[in-house]
Symmetry: C2
Subunit: 237 residues, 2 copies
Amino acid sequence: MGKVVVLLSGGLDSATTLAFVISRGMEAIALSFDYGQRHRRELESGRRVADHFGVKRAVFKMDFSFAGNSSLTSSLDVEDRPLEKIGDDIPATYVPARNSVFLSIGSAYAEALGCDSVAIGANALDYSGYPDCRPEYMNAMEKALNLGTRIGVSGNLSIMVPLQYLTKKEIIRLGLSLGVPFGLTRSCYRDNEKACGRCDSCKLRLRGFMEAGSEDPTAYQDLPGFYSDYLKERKGS
Amino acid sequence: MGKVVVLLSGGLDSATTLAFVISRGMEAIALSFDYGQRHRRELESGRRVADHFGVKRAVFKMDFSFAGNSSLTSSLDVEDRPLEKIGDDIPATYVPARNSVFLSIGSAYAEALGCDSVAIGANALDYSGYPDCRPEYMNAMEKALNLGTRIGVSGNLSIMVPLQYLTKKEIIRLGLSLGVPFGLTRSCYRDNEKACGRCDSCKLRLRGFMEAGSEDPTAYQDLPGFYSDYLKERKGS
């Protein structure tokens, strides 16, 4: 069966990862990070998603405001990139070493709570281009965490990355099949009441819903042209 | 030349690492962690050591009280082991994934501050038996952090472990030659005003000073027999 710490930001990917872990009959404990992120609303989404699935959730607090060169932890503007440019290079929303910090703290929780796995929603096909979402990184980090922890030395600590090789379309289809309440999730890098519809994260999400032949229940400030056209077609057909 | 984030607990090893980095002509920035450790006095030692060397020091706060199975982050007793047992297995003072968390956050600081290295005082000969002090762990973590950071992808992030293969005797001799103010450092796992002289860390330190043919300037509550005998011999000769 197994007992798993699931890193839960409150976004689409982490909510699907949580649903996936539960669907496999494993016991999930959610862990969210309050690191001073600009898009704080994701924390409330994380709480709602955990409540929806009836899992316990811990929130680990820390202050990443030292990372003044990231637009998620400083007052730097979030860039709006055309969809075809997303993933080409590391954007300003990159937070230094974030997944290393999250996976390390997740492993510490796993050890403390008697879990044998840490699950993370990282994926690297329709993504922002963060180096710490790539499979080669995940494999190296799993090795390091196994060498550096009691559980790794005496047994095995598994870093589960179930979405690693999935497209956003496939993640959304998987989530729909697992009953993920996508309306409770929050992907936007901005913290306005409605999702902006312009940042990398909104665009990748909306294209994913379009490609999955579904509709995003999220309320948006602006809809990108490709998605408005798609909605019109759906209504027309 | 290089610019280095030096993880500075306030103990003997991290103070020697800081002095080593400075002696190589590199620019050092100290980083201490306030994670709710029982032995909080080390934070004051870290401040004094950084001041001694005239380096800037950041303190990163987080709460590790979830780690209830570690005697450094809970009210569990610190064990007193005979010197010959130290290093045989992982003791209760082990804090889950601590060096992974520290190195990950250290790398985030390095990226944010334009440094190319993170230095840590870990060593694995006269040590408490923590898996995350071993060279195989350090090498794996360096690889993971290089794959998961912007600086690693575009250049190289170096995890410096200058004391990795040194005995405590050799570390103390190195520190003495570099002018480390050992009287300002604090190694004890307990938080009494005077160092206890009974925990792993005190015993390894005192044996190191004895083997180095020097005297520890630290004030102790109790001195282990081997060190009292050594002091008597020194006075006699």
